[in-house]
Amino acid sequence: MIAVLGLVVGVVVGLVVRPVVPSGVEPYLPIAVVAALDAVFGGLRAMLDGIFDDKVFVVSFLSNVVVAALIVFLGDKLGVGAQLSTGVVVVLGIRIFSNAAAIRRHVFRA
């Protein structure tokens, strides 16, 4: 209940407050979005697996976002930013996919 409330509050806050993203951070926003989605799907799957842990969820979410942004930042400094962000998106995308598959197996038993 409180989880759904948190999600709704987050969406509302994002829409209403519309905090201005600093232009320095803007390039990392897409990566952060993918990392956040990955964390959410991972948490959902863990919940269905019965091993959910709120601390793990929050910490993994924050560290995923930060690490992904850092990798891309480093890549930008080294001139391989586009390639590295592709790599991050691929890895996180694969994780999202397999987590979604696991969730599907839980929900539909198929």
């Binding site: 987050g10 019965g50 842990d53 601390k55």
Partner: protein
């Protein structure tokens, strides 16, 4: 591959498994019970939702801006294109005016200047002559690789080059041609045949093969004279050695269009020279020799056009 396999197999954060193991016997607790951990979870979810929403919002905001910019650019391009079209139309109409004025001026000078007009390619002409079709060799590739010489452009020896066309035209002038078009482009005293990239240009207009050269002259004699000339032999050599196709045929009546327009900006008659002041009506020589002289000067397609005659 092992990296990908690793990613596929460990899609779930291992922290969950470890945390579950730590809890161990206390049984699987699916969701946090304590209020503080509930709040922590909610905060994490709020953060996740904010990030995702922000990402979506950012895209929604920036997409229309980009589209607007794009549309603006498109509008500008279209505006400028319209402007350029209008200017081109102006140029065309002015050119037509100039042409008409030129024709009128030439006509007003009387019958003798009909010849000047003819020789300056300012008027369409017709008469007997020859038609010479020159084309690239069959196997000459135009663009695709894998040809016999694995090369494209003028490095392919099976292609007709600007030099070949220059020699052909030159040979026709030398053999007694009086008016020549190449693919419908009338050659004037100001015409140049040159190459740009892959194409042959006549008067800055690119031509596509096959190149049809129409030359007005004494049909049969012009043909044989050309065949026997150095340039005719050169063309035969091209045919023989490189497979370039050339076909010469005598025609009874050829129609040649006028050159688009002739504009001299810098050249003016020299008053000191005999015969030139007072306009061209004072042609000192007879019609025939004046014609020869006129064409002898018409030479930036070649140096020795009429000189050898």
């Amino acid at each position: 591959m092992s990296l990908l396999t690793n990613v596929m197999e460990h899609s779930l954060d291992e922290g969950y498994a470890e945390a579950a193991a730590r809890r161990g016997a206390s049984g699987p607790s699916r969701l946090p019970r304590a209020l503080s951990s509930k709040l922590g979870l909610a905060a994490g979810l709020v953060l996740a939702a904010v990030v995702v929403t922000l990402g979506a919002a950012q895209t929604q905001v920036s997409a229309p801006a980009e589209a607007r910019e794009r549309q603006k650019l498109i509008d500008r391009i279209q505006d400028e294109t319209r402007g350029a079209d209008a200017l081109q139309k102006d140029v065309d109409s002015l050119r037509d005016t100039v042409d008409a004025e030129q024709q009128a001026a030439l006509k007003s000078r009387g019958d003798g200047d009909r010849l000047v007009e003819l020789l300056a390619a300012a008027t369409p002409v017709h008469g007997p002559g020859v038609e010479l079709v020159v084309d690239d060799a069959e196997e000459a590739s135009s663009g695709d690789t894998g040809g016999p010489r694995e090369s494209t452009g003028f490095s392919d020896t099976g292609r007709v080059r600007d030099r070949d066309m220059q020699r052909v035209v030159n040979g026709l002038w030398a053999s007694g041609a009086e008016a020549i078009t190449v693919n419908g482009q009338r050659l004037t005293a100001l015409s140049a045949i040159r190459a740009a990239g892959d194409a042959i240009l006549v008067d800055n207009r690119p031509l596509a093969p096959p190149y049809t050269v129409l030359a007005i002259g004494d049909g049969k004699r012009l043909g044989t004279a050309f065949q026997n000339s150095v340039d005719g032999q050169y063309l035969r050599m091209l045919q023989h050695d490189y497979g370039i196709r050339a076909d010469l045929s005598v025609r009874d009546d050829l129609r040649l269009a006028a050159a688009p327009s002739l504009i001299l900006r810098y050249a003016t008659p020299d008053p000191a020279a005999p015969g030139t002041p007072g306009g061209r009506s004072a042609h000192p020589q007879g019609a025939g020799s004046a014609g020869r002289a006129g064409h002898g000067a018409s030479g930036n397609t070649s140096g020795n056009k009429k000189g050898e005659k």
